[in-house]
């Protein structure tokens, strides 16, 4: 086959996904064929089975497993939904079509497999992720996209109709949407030597306007708030496949801090999945100490912010001295600052002064 000329991570992974879906079907088929009630077991996702793995630097599921059996009257419906979801994913992947969680909910109705609500169908997809160890994006089920990328990176599409076509990610000044077509692309070449992830769209645009990609030789990624899984996986690929260090810039508040942390260490919700986190990524700002050092205009922390800080303090992901120091500082100053706060020193201050200092500091 022509596409096999470069053994890439993307096409390898697609093959694995299809194989594992087929295996799941075969396993159930064989059980039925032997005249037994089919059963599947998978790691439990209940909170007491979620733990932090120091080595992997992410949450993982423990040893406890749960069994879904078609023998059990309360399991038989979700079991059927699960098999249906696997079949649906199989069709999506093999026909190279994409879909959303919302689509899944509605598509089920065509098979007379109604889900009670969106939550129920989402849970079934999460079950499928847990069983197969692949994330739903691997089955071509995508969330609503809103994050984007910009910078000197040439990619090659693998989606139907675009196979073999390439694109340089500087070609559109608004950035390129990190959607199914982009996440399933192979990386061809880049001149960048780092990745800068940015929480907010306004700053992302400013960075492009100010030529940050060229000045600092970087690929810019807009997370648009909490980064979607596809974006987290994309950042990891930039880090792993291209060996680019990742620097994250967020607002200077507990929520921004946590956006960075999820990119670095993953989330508890995705404990059943791997390769969504980038353990070596760095949170470069805005730190609580930056608020003090740069004398930024601030807002007071409200009750929700304080509550969040106490939660983060207990979180195993926040045990490194830097994080502890920043949490403490937030608690002490009881103030927060947005990225835009640097504008008080002029629009380009953040690019010309702050950014290089922080890149150096968190190198």
């Amino acid at each position: 086959m022509d596409r096999k000329k470069h053994k890439s991570s993307v096409s390898e992974r697609k093959k694995e996904v299809l194989e594992s879906l087929g295996d799941l079907g075969g396993k159930i088929y064989d059980q039925l064929d032997k005249g037994t009630f089919p059963a599947i077991d998978m790691p439990s996702r209940s909170t007491d089975n979620i733990m932090y793995d120091e080595k992997l630097r992410q949450f993982i599921l423990g040893d406890r497993r749960v069994k879904r059996s078609a023998r059990n009257v309360s399991h038989v419906k979700p079991f059927t939904q699960l098999v249906w979801a696997a079949l649906f994913s199989n069709e999506l992947s093999s026909q190279r079509k994409t879909s959303t969680l919302r689509d899944v909910y509605y598509s089920a109705q065509a098979y007379e497999m109604t889900f009670k609500d969106q939550q129920e169908s989402n849970n079934i997809i999460t079950d499928l992720e847990t069983i197969l160890g692949f994330s739903r994006e691997d089955f071509n089920i995508f969330p609503e996209e809103r994050s984007a990328v910009f910078g000197d990176l040439t990619i090659e599409y693998t989606v139907p109709g675009y196979e073999g076509k390439t694109l340089n990610l500087t070609s559109h000044p608004d950035g390129v949407l990190i959607g199914p077509a982009l996440t399933s692309s192979e990386f061809v070449k880049t001149s960048a030597d780092k990745v800068i992830a940015i929480e907010k769209g306004g700053l992302f645009t400013r960075f492009i306007e100010e030529n940050v990609h060229r000045k600092y030789n970087s690929i810019l990624v807009l997370t648009a708030g909490q980064a979607p899984r596809a974006t987290r996986h994309f950042i990891r690929r930039l880090n792993e496949e291209l060996n680019l260090p990742v620097y994250i810039f967020t607002d200077g508040d507990p929520w921004g801090m946590h956006i960075a942390m999820v990119i670095i260490s993953g989330s508890a919700n995705a404990a059943h999945l791997r390769e969504l986190n980038t353990p070596d990524a760095k949170w470069s700002g805005v730190w609580a100490t930056d608020i003090v050092n740069y004398k930024l205009p601030t807002d007071p922390l409200d009750d929700m912010d304080m509550k969040r800080l106490y939660e983060l303090q207990k979180d195993p992901r926040y045990k490194d001295p830097l994080w502890r120091r920043e949490i403490k500082t937030f608690m002490k100053i009881k103030r927060k600052a947005e990225q835009e706060a640097f504008s008080r020193y002029g629009l380009t201050y953040i690019v010309d002064e702050y950014l290089p200092q922080k890149l150096e500091e968190t190198k």
């Binding site: 075969g26 037994t36 038989v76 059927t80 098999v83």
Partner: protein, 540 residues
């Protein structure tokens, strides 16, 4: 000013106080008139174990003649009015003749024993004359209701009542009667003797009265339906003024065992009754007097009692002075060793007939009935029968539907004050997994020689602890049965749902997994479906 005193007759008394007999307003009056006559007809047939056939026709005669006549007692009569128990009886608005008040002709025919010709005038034209002053369970007790209806008709329309009756002999007697209210005597306006070729037996009563049928209609239809429920061996036919025919057809010819007449029980006597007995007794000593006039008193009990009360067995009862009679009454009530009254004077419906009646009239999915053992209050025996019905044609109204009966009479008014309703409300139904939202009907039937009605109108029953206890126990029994039914049904439902889930989803699992595995032949899951079914039946 000198006050004048006068004596009034019984007819006059009820004429002035017809409210206490239930003739409160035009709509209530027409309901009560129908009810009283139907009850007399049922009693007349049942007393000789004849399955009753009762035909009732109400036809329109014309506009009401004079506004208010018959409802407003003449002025100056208030000094004779009784203390009334029901305050609403005195509400002035209920006494007014409404626009819908019309003159109707009421005709009630039965196949009862018939009335011997010489008794016809008094039986229908004299208040408080009758065959019902005996101690056994009957619908009527005062010999009042039927005549009150006729009296009411007379005072509202000034027409005589027509009575036709035969005891099944070769002659039929027809009387046209009016009541001389002041003297409480029948006035015979006309009398005919007819040849009875078919040897027909029964009684026809026909008279005109003012009433408001359209307002009374729902209660009247309820009355027939509920009467049919506790008299499943009766044929009831009702033709209303619009010519609509309502038929309630018997489903059995089985009838309850008729009650036996009984003597008064010592616990239930009062001074008046003792004096009457002393007056009529042929016995010359206390021992024979007690033995022969009281229920459940034999030789030994009589002797024990005389010892207990320090009375000489040989004393002539006619020699007892007033104080001794009062003392005798107190001693009778104090003596502990009288046997409780037996229930042979009662005629409960029986569980089978009650079940039959409930199934016939309200067509439930499930019914449980229970008859309590006889009990007594104040020397009067009584039996409680209870029933509970679920589903079928019973609507779910958000509250239990309660059917109350006393001596096979449906009680339709003043439900909230009735002892049965209080017991039902006090019961913890959740314990039996029964909730008011369910389609549930509850039946309580009280049989007694003396039903403790709160009013002469026979609408609701007083809250006596003995009654309350028996009703509660009777309801608990049927509640346990419905609980069993509900939990079984729930189990069957659950099982059906369970099987439904498997037979819905297993084929899909088979189909989806076949496609997913890329196989051609769908695995056979019939065996699995059978095994769930087996599993299910083991559980049951």
């Amino acid at each position: 000013m000198a006050q004048t005193f006068e004596e009034i007759s019984a007819a006059d008394f009820f004429y002035r106080n017809r409210d206490i007999a239930g003739f409160t307003n035009p709509s209530r009056a027409i309901f009560v008139a129908i009810r009283e006559l139907v009850e007399n007809s049922l009693d007349a047939a049942e007393s000789h174990r004849i399955p009753p056939e009762v035909y009732v026709r109400l036809s329109y005669e014309g506009e009401a003649s004079q506004t208010g006549k018959g409802f407003n007692p003449a002025e100056g009569e208030n000094e004779h009015t009784l203390e009334k128990e029901e305050s609403d009886l005195q509400k002035p608005d209920e006494r007014e003749v409404t626009q819908e008040t019309q003159v109707y002709k009421l005709r009630v025919e039965d196949n009862g024993t018939g009335v011997p010709p010489r008794h016809i005038p008094s039986a229908f034209g004299q208040i408080l004359f009758g065959s019902k002053y005996k101690l056994k369970q009957q619908r009527g007790t005062f010999g009042l209701g039927g005549k009150m209806a006729i009296l009411y008709g007379q005072i509202t329309t000034h027409q005589p009542a027509t009575i036709i009756s035969s005891t099944g002999i070769s002659k039929t007697y027809m009387y046209k009667l009016m009541i001389d209210i002041q003297r409480n005597r029948p006035l015979i306006m006309d009398r005919k003797v007819l040849i009875n070729k078919t040897m027909w037996r029964g009684t026809v009563v026909e008279f005109t009265l003012e009433g408001d049928y359209f307002r009374a209609m729902p209660k009247i239809l309820d009355y027939f339906k509920q009467t049919a429920m506790v008299n499943p061996y009766a044929n009831l036919t009702f033709v209303d003024p619009k010519g609509r025919l309502y038929k309630f057809i018997r489903v059995t010819k089985e009838m309850p065992v008729p009650p036996k007449e009984t003597k008064p029980h010592p616990y239930g006597v009062d001074v008046e009754l003792l004096q009457r007995l002393i007056q009529i007794t042929p016995y010359k000593n206390m021992r024979d007097f007690l033995r022969n006039h009281f229920h459940r008193v034999g030789d030994i009990t009589a002797q024990k009692f005389l010892g207990f009360s320090n009375l000489s067995p040989s004393k002539n009862p006619k020699r007892l002075d007033h104080e001794e009679i009062v003392r005798l009454m107190h001693m009778l009530k104090k003596f502990k060793d009288f046997l409780p009254p037996d229930a042979s004077c009662l005629s409960p419906l029986g569980e089978d007939l009650l079940r039959t009646g409930i199934l016939k009239e309200i067509k439930p999915e499930f019914v449980a009935v229970h008859q309590r053992k006889p009990a007594t209050y104040a020397g009067h025996p009584f039996v409680i029968e209870t029933g509970i019905a679920y589903g079928g044609e019973i609507p779910a109204r958000g509250n239990f539907i309660v059917y109350r009966f006393a001596n096979r009479i449906p009680l339709l008014y003043d439900e909230a004050n009735d002892v049965s309703l209080r017991v039902i409300q006090a019961m913890n139904w959740r314990r039996y997994h029964v909730t008011p939202e369910m389609p549930v009907a509850i039946v309580v039937h009280i049989c007694s020689t003396k039903v403790p009605y709160k009013t002469v109108g026979k609408e609701f029953i007083a809250d006596r602890p003995e009654l309350r206890r028996e009703i509660a126990n009777g309801l608990r029994e049927v509640a346990r049965q419905i609980q069993l039914f509900l939990s079984r049904r729930e189990h069957v439902d659950r099982e059906r749902k369970r099987l439904g889930v498997f037979s819905k989803y297993l084929p899909r699992i088979a189909q989806f997994s076949t496609q997913l595995a890329g196989k051609k032949k769908v695995p056979d899951i019939e065996k699995l479906l059978v095994s769930v079914r087996k599993y299910g039946s083991e559980e049951a």
